[in-house]
């Protein structure tokens, strides 16, 4: 009925490429990302190594592929965590709108928002040591209030509708109504927000592993590749430019996808038609 917007197609395509790379990397990469060959280090892109090699002589293409896996995994799980924690909170707040629970939840949200994300991430890793898991936790924590807010916002507008009244008259409780009526009808909002958070997650993961707080070696991650490449940018630019583009393109893809999804899913825009 509706034809898909260009943004959605382009975005999905871009994202797809990296998702695919990540999938393939689970079974096959051109070279082992752990195998070092000091003799063959810092090679510019060429026939043997399409994206060249890094300072340990590792194949950058392979590392990009596995790195995609890392980034996507971290981002997806972090967003998942944000949803799992945030959506129920949001539903709860909306169900008790104006009540104490609502107030507490929303103030809690503001508080989390008030903390400087990167600093907290650094602290978390200072406490538990750096690892992909802690990166996920750090990112997840800051996703939670976002979803709580979006959920509450969407839910509040639904709670004013008559079919919720009807459900109440049919003797249904807040929880049941939230699950049966509210959740399915804010799914679109959540999908759109999810995509956006996903792309932000990729950026965050990159930033964290850039400062060395993300996935630990030998597991490659785009952010750390950038960090390692930084001092060599002037004589081995490919080491910095390729992972950089990997990040930019993935995030770009996801954002475009988010826009596209919003265009076809967001009820607000649909009512506008």
């Amino acid at each position: 009925m509706k034809r898909l917007p260009m943004t959605l197609i382009a975005g999905a395509a871009l994202t797809g490429v990296f998702a695919l790379a990540a999938l393939i990397s689970m079974v096959w990469t051109p070279y082992s990302v752990e195998g070092m060959n000091i003799a063959a280090r810092l090679q510019a892109p060429g026939a043997a190594h399409w994206f060249g090699t890094d300072h340990f002589g590792r194949d950058i293409l392979s590392m990009i592929m596995v790195g995609a896996r890392t980034s996507i995994a971290v981002a997806v799980i972090a967003v998942g965590m944000g949803m799992v924690l945030g959506v129920p909170l949001g539903l709860l707040a909306a169900a008790n709108r104006g009540g104490l629970i609502d107030e507490v939840i929303m103030r809690g949200n503001d508080l989390v928002f008030a903390f400087p994300a990167l600093v907290i991430a650094i602290l978390i890793t200072a406490v538990f040591g750096p690892s992909a898991v802690n990166a996920i936790i750090a990112i997840g924590i800051f996703n939670t209030p976002v979803f709580a807010r979006v959920t509450r916002g969407g839910a509040l507008s639904l709670w004013t509708l008559d079919y919720i009244r009807a459900a109440e008259v049919a003797g249904k409780g807040k929880v049941r109504i939230s699950v049966e009526h509210i959740l399915p009808n804010i799914a679109n909002l959540l999908i759109v927000q999810g995509t956006i958070q996903f792309s932000l997650g990729i950026l965050a993961e990159a930033a964290l592993s850039y400062v060395g707080l993300g996935a630990q070696p030998p597991l490659p991650s785009w952010g750390r590749m950038l960090a390692e490449a930084q001092t060599m940018i002037s004589f081995a630019p490919h080491m910095a430019i390729i992972p950089g583009f990997a990040i930019v393109l993935t995030v770009l893809g996801l954002n475009l996808m988010g826009d596209g999804l919003r265009d076809i899913l967001d009820p607000k825009l649909r009512r506008a038609r």
Partner: protein, 490 residues
Amino acid sequence: MLGRLKLGLAVLAMVATPALAQRADISVGLVLEPPNLDPTSGAAAAIREVTYSNIYEGLTRFGPDGSVNPGLAHDWDISEDGTVYTFHLREGVQFHDGTPLTADDVVFTLDRARDEDSTNAQKQLFAAIDTVTAVDPLTVEVTLTQPQGAFLFNMAWGDAVIMSPESVETNATNPVGTGAFRFVRWVQGDRVELERNPDYWGEAPALERATFRFISDPSAAFAAMMAGDIDAFPNFPAPETLAQFEADPRFSVIVGSTEGETILSMNHQNEALSDIRVRQAISHAINRQDIIDGAMFGYGTPIGTHFAPHNPDYLDLTDNSAHDPEAARALLAEAGHENLTLRLMLPPPTYARRGGEIVASQLRDVGIRTEITNLEWAQWLEQVFRGKDFDLTIISHTEPMDIEIYSRPDYYFQYDSAELQAIIAELDETTDPEARTELLHRAQRHISEDYVVGFLFQLAKTGVANADIEGLWENAPVPANDLTGVRWTQ
């Protein structure tokens, strides 16, 4: 005697090249900012890199080659039994706040360092001291409990610089010493500024102003050098970029040696690592040249034991642990550790982080899996160094002549060998050079043949400077940037 002669030569050298420098200011790049400016409480090398023999001076001082020269004491006598040192202080030496240097200041300094409330990071330097007394305003007598071969050497350390009671409390933030440069100001997080001390007792330095700038990020350091924001970077953090500086006529690259033996430490409490065959296997699995090339881009000297190659008493024992994966696998099989998994803890420096990744892949080749954990310094000190909770770690031991650490059974790698402990104990009391050399050789051989740890390489001092600057230390016998001899040639 010897010391005096050396000084004379040094002075001649200075006079020989008249200081008609156009520029008299310099900005020196440092990786780490000193937490404070009091080297007598706090171990941070950065403190010494700013203050040593620029602001503070000790009774004796190190020369660029690590030799011990007269400092605030122009001369000294040692009693026959080697337990009484009488130092003769220079005349007319003033602290930057105008108070004159007297024997009392020396007594105060040494007593303060030995006190039980002392927060001196190298307290063991003063362990041998029994009493310190001021004979007259310019003479100090130090009595030792037993003869100590390295006492004059110890007194040259940054932790033994002389301070006056008037200023000692504030030295952390407003250092007052006797050195050729005066403290001007410290913009925390950015730089420390010094200026020439007009009342300096010795030869006035060529530089009028010196700024130490703190740039921890290697690429930022590179950019700063390239952009000319920094004139000299004595310990340049990014060896990979040195080739470019080499190629660039604007810069000169100064490659020297440090006292930093970089080793792959092993925890002898670990069941597997307590087996010499496993340790030997690991040592054979390591390819030093690959590590030096891959991590330090070729800068560094392979070592086979815990001793500085530039030291006359050094023995090259690298063949004991030549790269030989076959042998390694065989040894592991023999020890029954075909599939061994070890935790590799890595502190922040490049040599450790990059070296660690290479070591990990080299061990993988002989069938040892490693779990890498990158740690901050504080965590490393807490967990590895004090908690002794690790299997492997890579660390550079930068104290000079520190082979004695292997004689401490409670040291973090917990190596307990009566034989070695005997050697070191003997060494400590020996003053006769030949005898010392002999003992040092035995010690080197012992730890090498016992494969106590994996000996990787001697950390190189890789500095970059504007080509028109001369007089920077090539080597780093101790962490220091002695600017007294630095000048612009045009």
